[in-house]
């Protein structure tokens, strides 16, 4: 076992992910070795169906791994209690929230649940953290609005604020930019970058916005058919990793602009 660095927040060792059933295990990807450092914005990219969601579900303990280890702050993920995990890792998922009748403030305040008492009363400190989260995501003006009154972009900011209020070292977002227009895609990712700088939290998100991720991320995790590579965007470009992401018949990666172009 390799020594876990002080600055490492999340690390996988020979991780195999997929679906276990009675008959046989369906392996989606195996031999995943990745190390995420504290205080970084990390983008996870890969083609549709390559296993990004499965990887995120495994890293967040929603789904069981097939083999290998997931180390969160040096501890095995399975050793965390529900509450301890909730104090270390917060999530922004693609699924719609069940009730949109909550006000923005109430929803963000739910992020304090791991810290509140049995009935969920907010202490002065809880209120301060919630207000800071609203402030950091620029949604103070929306505070008293109901969630059904919000646009998709606003709702995504609210969900990010809720994750911030949970006050965890690691925030994981599953495709936070889907359903958003070009401006709001950039806005949300830029917001994540700002939050990493301000709060020194680690933010891991999966996305199809490869060109935006290349410009904003400190580290990127690229999933292809055979391997999972973790490196800085610059190194990944010079190694030509992005060319291997998709079939080459329609689009090609342009090293100079750091984006994909249609083959004419």
């Amino acid at each position: 076992m390799t020594k876990t660095n002080q600055h490492t927040i999340l690390k996988t060792e020979n991780l195999s992910i997929g679906y276990a059933s009675k008959k046989a295990n369906t392996i989606v990807t195996s031999h995943i070795n990745m190390v995420l450092q504290k205080g970084q914005l990390v983008g996870l990219v890969g083609a549709n169906g390559i296993g990004k969601s499965t990887l995120l579900r495994t890293l967040t303990n929603v789904q069981d791994k097939l083999s290998g280890n997931v180390l969160l702050k040096g501890e095995n993920l399975e050793t965390y209690s529900n509450t301890d995990l909730a104090k270390t890792m917060s999530l922004v998922l693609t699924e719609k929230i069940a009730s949109k009748n909550l006000s923005v403030f109430e929803l963000v305040a739910l992020g304090r649940q791991p810290y509140t008492n049995w009935v969920g009363n907010l202490s002065a400190n809880d209120l301060e953290v919630v207000n800071r989260a609203l402030n950091q995501t620029n949604i103070e003006a929306l505070k008293d609005k109901k969630c059904f009154e919000l646009s998709d972009g606003q709702l995504q900011k609210v969900m990010i604020a809720r994750a911030l209020a949970q006050d965890t070292d690691l925030i994981i977002l599953d495709e936070p930019t889907t359903h958003l227009d070009m401006y709001h895609k950039a806005y949300i990712l830029k917001l994540l970058q700002k939050l990493v700088k301000e709060t020194h939290k680690t933010i891991l998100f999966s996305s199809h916005e490869i060109d935006l991720a290349i410009q904003l991320c400190d580290t990127m995790v690229v999933m292809t058919d055979n391997t999972v590579i973790t490196d800085t965007p610059c190194n990944l470009i010079s190694k030509g990793v992005f060319e291997t992401l998709f079939p080459k018949d329609l689009i090609a990666f342009d090293n100079h602009s750091g984006s994909f172009k249609i083959i004419k």
Partner: protein, 340 residues
């Protein structure tokens, strides 16, 4: 707590007290409010009023409060757990489970053990049968629905279990005597009266247990508003919370059905009325508000069912729907948006 909520709660408590007193005063023999106060402090001098109030009207009014609030809260728990505004104790087969249990006791006792029928059909066997029936059917619905995950499918499964229990009841009815059938059908009309203070005490005990569990679930219910995956990421033990919610619901809905019959509609409607009026989904507000609304509306329904000054009493089950459905429709039309 928001200052507006405080005023709303004070208002509702006053309305509840008024409804409670009016409910006691109305009936086949109207009793003036002054006489009710006198009977409470023991200075009322009248040949029959003190007896009517103490032995009949007061237990009935308390039963109405327990039934209305309990059904409202169990409906609220189910709607949040299943993330479905159509859910309620009745839709998911809890009440039909209780009906099956009671049918087995009332109708089945005659078929399987004629000689012991009178022993089996005690109030206690009905209560236990109703509670067990509701718990079993709800658990079955939950076990099956844990395999499908689709919310609409869960409702269909609940309806299917309702059909199965109805079919079993039909088979039992076919083999039962007219007397037993009548007893079962009268139970099905629902009734808030006929409970002695002792029975009311037991009712209250089980009800309180269900209520305590509901209050204990407030935090979990609030995180379930985000969906199960989010709730889990907030540190909630889903399995444990789900079990507590189910036990609370079956204790509340099961005993209510046992003591007062399968009272329709309240469980579905009260949470919606409350959400429309309070415009919140926060269970810390909703649970006490549903309690008050449920109690008030049940008292009003019972007052109507008594057909004041007449000797007749209508089935409470019919009144809850006759009175409740238009209220929900009116609220939905007025607000033009369903809040959930």
């Amino acid at each position: 707590m928001n200052i507006n909520y405080t005023y709303a709660f004070i208002l509702l408590i006053i309305v509840l007290i008024i409804c409670f007193l009016v409910n006691i005063s109305l009936g086949s023999v109207p009793i003036p409010l002054g006489a009710i106060f006198e009977s409470f402090i023991g200075t009322l001098e009248h040949e029959s009023w003190p007896y009517i109030i103490k032995e009949y009207r007061l237990p009935k009014a308390f039963t109405a409060v327990l039934v209305g609030s309990g059904l409202g809260i169990s409906g609220l728990l189910m709607q949040t757990l299943f993330r479905n505004p159509l859910a309620g104790p009745f839709v998911l087969g809890i009440s039909s489970g209780a009906s099956l249990g009671v049918a087995l006791v009332i109708l089945g006792a005659g078929i399987f053990s004629g000689a012991f029928a009178s022993i089996f059909v005690s109030k206690w066997s009905i209560i236990i049968a109703a509670s067990l029936g509701s718990f079993l059917v709800l658990s079955a619905v939950l076990v099956v629905s844990s395999k499908v995950r689709d919310t609409m499918a869960i409702l269909i499964i609940g309806l299917m279990f309702g059909s199965i229990t109805a079919a079993v009841v039909s088979v039992l009815s076919y083999f039962s005597s007219a007397e037993q059938l009548q007893q079962y059908i009268f139970w099905g009309f629902g009734s808030l009266g006929n409970l002695s203070w002792q029975e009311l005490g037991i009712f209250f005990l089980v009800y309180s247990l269900g209520m305590l569990l509901s209050i204990f679930s407030i935090k979990g219910l609030n995180s379930l508003l985000l969906g199960e995956n989010y709730a889990k990421s907030l540190g909630l033990n889903i399995k444990q919370t789900r079990l507590i919610i189910i036990v609370a619901t079956s204790l509340l809905a099961g005993t209510i059905t046992a003591f007062a019959g399968p009272i329709a509609f309240i469980g579905l409607a009260i949470p919606h009325i409350t959400r429309q009026v309070f415009t919140t989904s926060n269970h810390k507000i909703l649970i006490p508000a549903v309690f008050l609304f449920g109690a008030i509306i049940m008292l009003i329904c019972d007052s109507i069912a008594q057909l004041p000054t007449s000797d007749y009493t209508l089935p409470i089950n019919a009144i809850t729907s006759l009175f409740g459905a238009p209220v929900v429709i009116w609220l939905l039309v007025r607000k033009r948006k369903m809040l959930f």
